[in-house]
C-alpha cells in the first residue's frame, strides 16, 4: 500500500497541473468580525473536552484563546456573560439536501437526483442549489454553521457533493466553504437497483450494482492513466500529440483516485459496506464515510481498521428492508470500536433533523451508555462537530474550539444534550449570524419575504 500511495501522490501532482483556476470556486470572504469574549461559559470544545466556567476569545474571525479567566482588557471587545450557559462549536451536518430539495417541496424544486443514468459522476449537487431555500435559516437557528450537500441516492454514482457555510448569498460560489474538497456520492443497495431495475435497465440487482461501480472505476483508471501520461510528456512531445479529450464524469472519478475528492457512500448493509471497501482497495481509492450505515455496528471493527467514518441517524428504521436492523447503539458502537478509534458522525438527511442534531446525539449517547459504554457528553459532541468536519475534509479550519480555527460557535441556554436546549447565538467566522434575543437577526430568504403579509417576512 505504501508504494501505491507514493504513485498516487505523484499522479495527483501531475494531474493537478492540467486543472487551472476551477470554475465555480468559492468566492466567500468572511466579513471583518468584532472581537468577542464569551465569559464564564460551560464549554464542549468538540475535541472531547468539557470546560466548566471557562472563557473563549474570538478575534479576527478565529478562536484566539480558551481558558479560565481570560484577560478582558481588550480594545473594542463585546463581552458576553454566559454563566450557566453552554458553548459548543458550530454544528456540522455531513448529509444534507437543503438547496437541492428546497422548501416548499414542490416538483420544480426536486433537484437532488439526476436519475437518468446509474453513473452520473459528471453532475455536481451545487449546480442544483437554490440560494433562497428557507431551510438554511431554520438550520442556522438550530446551530448549524456548516453543511455538506449531497446528490440523492438513486444512482450508483450520483455526482459531487459540496460543503457550504450557512450564510446568505445570492450565488452558490458565495456560500461555498473555501477550499473544502468535493465529495463523490455513491449509493449501495435498494435505491439504485429499484430505480433502474424498474426500467428494465442495469442495475436491477445488488450484483448488478457491484458490476456497475467496478466498470466505472476501470474507465476512470484508464482515463487517469491517459491524462497522466500526456502530462508527463515533454513540451515538445505534447506538440505532436493531441491531449486526451476531457470527460466530466471521468474527471470526477479520477479526482477520487487522486485523493482530491472524498467518497461519501450511502450504504445500509454490513456485507455491502465490506464489498465497497474491497472495491476501494481494488481501484486504490479511499472511502471517507458510509452514510446511513444502519448495520455499521455489525462491522464496527472493520470500519475502524479502515479509518472509515459512519454517518448515521440515531434511530431511523423500517422505511425499507435494508433499514430493518436498526439498533440505537449503532453510533456509540462505531465510536467505541477498536478502543475508541472509530469515527462516528450523527447526520440528518432531513430538514427537520438538521435543526436538532444535538437531540439526535443525545439519544445515541444515552442508548450507548445504557448498553454499558461510558461515553462522555464532551466526546459525543464530536459526533456533530469535529468528526463531520474530518469527514468533510475541513477539520483544519472548523469543527472544534481550538486556537486558530474559524470562530464557528454556538451559545446554548442549557446543556445541548437536553431537548430544552435552544441555540441562543450563532457565530460564523466570528460574526454573529443569529441572535435569538433579536428576532430581526433571523436570516430571511427572498422566498420568506412578504409571502403571507406584504409587510412581513414569513417567520415574523
Amino acid at each position: 500500500m505504501k508504494i501505491n500511495n507514493k504513485i498516487f501522490t505523484l499522479g495527483a501532482l501531475l494531474f493537478c497541473i492540467t486543472i487551472e483556476a476551477a470554475p465555480f470556486d468559492s468566492t466567500y470572504i468572511a466579513e471583518p468580525s468584532a472581537t468577542s469574549l464569551l465569559k464564564n461559559a460551560n464549554i464542549y470544545d468538540g475535541e472531547g473536552n468539557e470546560f466548566i466556567d471557562y472563557d473563549l476569545l474570538i478575534q479576527d474571525g478565529k478562536i484566539k484563546s480558551i481558558g479560565p479567566d481570560l484577560d478582558s482588557d481588550i480594545e473594542n471587545v463585546a463581552i458576553y456573560d454566559l454563566s450557566g450557559m453552554w458553548v459548543t462549536p458550530g454544528i456540522i451536518d455531513l448529509h444534507s439536501h437543503m438547496g437541492v430539495y428546497s422548501a416548499p417541496g414542490v416538483k420544480t424544486s426536486s433537484d437532488g437526483n439526476e436519475s437518468t443514468s446509474p453513473v452520473t459522476a459528471d453532475v455536481w449537487a451545487e449546480h442544483s442549489v437554490w440560494t433562497q431555500d428557507p431551510q438554511f435559516s431554520l438550520a442556522l437557528q438550530g446551530g448549524i454553521t456548516t453543511f455538506h450537500v449531497l446528490p440523492g441516492s438513486a444512482n450508483l454514482i450520483g455526482g459531487r457533493g459540496t460543503t457550504f457555510k450557512n450564510i446568505q448569498s445570492n450565488t452558490i460560489q458565495g456560500m461555498k466553504f473555501p477550499e473544502a474538497p468535493h465529495s463523490l456520492k455513491m449509493a449501495c443497495g435498494e435505491n439504485p437497483k429499484r430505480v433502474y431495475g424498474s426500467r428494465k435497465q442495469a442495475p436491477s440487482t445488488r450484483m448488478g450494482n457491484i458490476a456497475g461501480y467496478r466498470k466505472a472505476w476501470i474507465k476512470a483508471a484508464k482515463y487517469r492513466e491517459n491524462m497522466n501520461s500526456y502530462e508527463s510528456k515533454s513540451d515538445e512531445a505534447k506538440e505532436i500529440v493531441s491531449p486526451p479529450t476531457r470527460d466530466l464524469e471521468l474527471d470526477t472519478l479520477a479526482g477520487v483516485l487522486n485523493g482530491e475528492i472524498l467518497v461519501q457512500n450511502h450504504c445500509y448493509r454490513a456485507e455491502e459496506m465490506a464489498m465497497m471497501i474491497d472495491i476501494a482497495k481494488e481501484f486504490g481509492y479511499k472511502i471517507t464515510a458510509f452514510h446511513h450505515a444502519v448495520e455499521a455496528y455489525k462491522i464496527a471493527d472493520l470500519l475502524a481498521d479502515n479509518n472509515i467514518c459512519g454517518a448515521m441517524w440515531a434511530d431511523w428504521w423500517g422505511f425499507k428492508h435494508e433499514a430493518y436492523d436498526m439498533v440505537q447503539e449503532n453510533i456509540a458502537i462505531i465510536d467505541q470500536a477498536r478502543n475508541g478509534t472509530g469515527c462516528a458522525v450523527v447526520h440528518s438527511d432531513d430538514a427537520i433533523g438538521i435543526q436538532h442534531l444535538n437531540q439526535e446525539a443525545a439519544k445515541a449517547l444515552a442508548a450507548g451508555n445504557r448498553a454499558g459504554f461510558d461515553i462522555s457528553k464532551a466526546r459525543a459532541m464530536k459526533w456533530i462537530t469535529s468528526n463531520p468536519a474530518k469527514a468533510a475534509g475541513i477539520e483544519d479550519t472548523t469543527g472544534s474550539l481550538v486556537e486558530g480555527k474559524n470562530a464557528d460557535v454556538v451559545i446554548w441556554n442549557k446543556n445541548p444534550f437536553s431537548v430544552y436546549a435552544i441555540a441562543q447565538k450563532v457565530f460564523i467566522d466570528g460574526n454573529l449570524m443569529f441572535d435569538r434575543s433579536q428576532p430581526s437577526s433571523k436570516p430571511v430568504s427572498d422566498f420568506d419575504l412578504g409571502i403571507i403579509k406584504p409587510n412581513k417576512s414569513r417567520t415574523q
Binding site: 422548501a103 416548499p104 417541496g105 414542490v106 428557507p134 431551510q135 431554520l138 435498494e190 429499484r194 455496528y297 455489525k298 464496527a300 471493527d301 472493520l302 434511530d315 431511523w316 428504521w317 423500517g318 422505511f319 425499507k320 428492508h321 430493518y324 436492523d325 436498526m326 439498533v327 440505537q328 447503539e329 458502537i333 467505541q336 470500536a337 477498536r338 478502543n339 475508541g340 430538514a351 427537520i352 435543526q355 436538532h356 437531540q359 443525545a362 439519544k363 449517547l365 444515552a366 442508548a367 445504557r370 448498553a371 454499558g372 459504554f373 461510558d374 461515553i375 444534550f417 437536553s418 431537548v419 430544552y420 436546549a421 435552544i422 409571502i451 403571507i452 414569513r458 417567520t459
Partner: protein, 408 residues
C-alpha cells in the same frame, strides 16, 4: 471493548419480573396526565386496574421503589401505522391501502399483533395507538382503529373508531374538495332514513363507485359522531372546515394545521382538538407557509386541545420528543403530558385509559428520567396492569453484536 460492562448493561435493561396483579409503586413523581401538577406519591395496581393513588398506606404483594423516577400514563399516539405497515418500501408487508373502497375501508383485520413495531414503540412508552390507513382517496379515506399494544393474538381495542380525511395541496381544486366533502356528508345524512342500497343509487355514489361499506361509514360519520381527522394546513381550509363542522355537527379533529396562527381565534372558539407535529417548521408546501416551532405554544396559550404526531414512520414514540420541543418553545409541561395521554383518550372516546385515575386500566410507565427528553426510556411498562417485557428485536440485535465486538 473498552468501557463495556455487560453485567451493568444487563442489570439496567432487565428489571426483575414483577407480579403486577397486586403491586404498589412507591414514591414516584406522578403525572396523572390530566394537566394537574405532578406530585410525589404512590400508585397501587390491583387486578389490572389502578386501585388507588396518592400518599398510600397499602400492603401489597409486590412493591417497586420509584424514588427519583417519573410515573406517567402509558402514552397514546393518535396517528400511526403500527400493526399494518412492517416495512415501508415493501408493499407485501403493508395493509394500509384499499383497492376498491373509499371511506368504508377498514384496516382492523389487517392488524398484526406480532409486528416488530409493537415491542419497539411499547418499550419506548406507547401503550396504545390509533392506526390509520393511507389517504388514498380525497377528501375522505378509510377508517382507523384503536389498539392496545399488548401484542396478544386476541386483539383488544376499538374497531373503526375514526375516519381519515385530507384537504388542500392536491392537484385538483380545494374548492371542489370542500364541496365534495359536504356532498358526502349529505349522502351520509340520507343513510339515516333511507336504506344503504337506495343511497348507493345517488349520482355521487355512482360517480365515486361507492360500496355498501362506504355508505355505512358515511352514516357513522354524519349521524353517529364518528370522529373525523382531517389533515390540512392552509388557514382558509381551516376556516372552511370549522364552518362545515358547525353546519353538520361533526366530531372533527384537525391535523397538521401549520397555518393555524392566522385563524387562531376562530379555531379556539370552534373547540376543535388538533394533532400537530411541533417539530415540523418546514414550509413544505404553499399551504404551510406560517409553520414554526412556536405552533404548539401558540395553540396551547389559546386553550386549544393538543395531541401529537411525529414525522418519521416506525418511531411513533417520538411524539415524546415533539412534546419536549413544544415545551422548549413555550408549551405548558403538564399540558404536553396530557397531549400524549388523556387528550387522546378524551377526544376519541377511549374509556378508562389515558390517565392515572382510580379505576382506570393500569397502563402505566415508570421512566428513569423526564419522558419528554428523547434520551429517556422506560424502566417499566405496564399494560392492563401486566408488566411488559421490554425486549425488542432491536435489543436482541444489539446484544448479539455487542458481544462480538473486538473479537475479529
Amino acid at each position: 471493548m473498552k468501557n463495556l460492562n455487560l453485567l451493568t448493561a444487563l442489570l439496567l435493561i432487565s428489571p426483575l419480573v414483577i407480579n403486577a396483579s397486586d403491586l404498589l409503586i412507591e414514591n414516584g413523581t406522578i403525572h396523572i396526565g390530566d394537566g394537574s401538577k405532578a406530585f410525589v406519591g404512590d400508585l397501587y395496581i390491583k387486578d389490572g386496574l389502578i386501585k388507588s393513588i396518592g400518599d398510600l398506606n397499602v400492603k401489597a404483594k409486590n412493591t417497586i421503589d420509584a424514588k427519583g423516577k417519573i410515573i406517567t400514563p402509558g402514552f397514546i399516539a393518535p396517528m400511526t401505522a403500527i400493526g399494518i405497515v412492517e416495512i415501508g418500501a415493501l408493499d407485501v408487508t403493508r395493509d394500509d391501502e384499499s383497492d376498491y373502497l373509499n371511506m368504508g375501508f377498514s384496516i382492523f383485520r389487517g392488524f398484526n399483533p406480532n409486528s416488530t413495531l409493537i415491542p419497539w414503540n411499547r418499550s419506548n412508552g406507547l401503550t396504545s395507538v390509533i392506526t390509520l390507513p393511507q389517504q388514498t382517496s380525497m377528501p375522505l379515506a378509510g377508517m382507523g382503529s384503536y389498539f392496545i399494544l399488548d401484542g396478544n393474538m386476541s386483539i383488544s381495542g376499538k374497531q373503526d373508531m375514526v375516519m381519515l380525511g385530507k384537504m388542500g395541496a392536491s392537484s385538483g381544486s380545494r374548492s371542489e374538495d370542500l364541496d365534495l366533502l359536504e356532498n358526502l356528508i349529505t349522502l351520509g345524512k340520507l343513510a339515516k332514513t333511507k336504506n344503504y342500497e337506495k343511497v348507493l343509487e345517488s349520482p355521487l355514489a355512482e360517480f365515486f363507485e361507492l360500496h355498501l361499506q362506504d355508505i355505512a361509514a358515511l352514516d357513522k360519520l354524519a349521524n353517529k359522531k364518528l370522529p373525523l381527522i382531517i389533515e390540512t394546513n392552509r388557514a382558509t381550509d381551516i376556516k372552511h372546515l370549522i364552518d362545515i363542522k358547525n353546519k353538520y355537527d361533526l366530531n372533527l379533529i384537525l391535523a397538521g394545521i401549520e397555518d393555524a396562527p392566522l385563524v387562531l381565534d376562530e379555531l379556539a372558539k370552534s373547540k376543535i382538538p388538533v394533532i400537530i407535529n411541533p417539530m415540523d417548521n418546514i414550509p413544505n408546501s404553499f399551504d404551510e407557509l406560517s409553520s414554526s416551532l412556536e405552533l404548539a405554544s401558540i395553540l396551547n396559550k389559546a386553550g386549544i386541545t393538543i395531541m401529537f404526531d411525529s414525522a418519521r414512520s416506525h418511531n411513533y414514540h417520538l411524539i415524546r420528543q415533539g412534546a419536549g420541543n413544544a415545551v422548549a418553545y413555550g408549551m405548558n409541561y403538564e399540558d404536553a403530558i396530557s397531549g400524549l395521554s388523556k387528550n387522546v383518550a378524551d377526544v376519541f372516546g377511549i374509556k378508562n385509559r389515558g390517565s392515572l385515575k382510580k379505576g382506570n386500566y393500569a397502563d402505566v410507565v415508570i421512566w428513569e428520567s423526564d419522558p419528554l427528553e428523547p434520551s429517556s426510556v422506560p424502566t417499566y411498562v405496564f399494560i392492563n396492569g401486566k408488566q411488559i417485557d421490554l425486549t425488542t428485536r432491536s435489543s436482541r440485535l444489539k446484544d448479539r453484536y455487542i458481544k462480538k465486538l473486538g473479537k475479529n
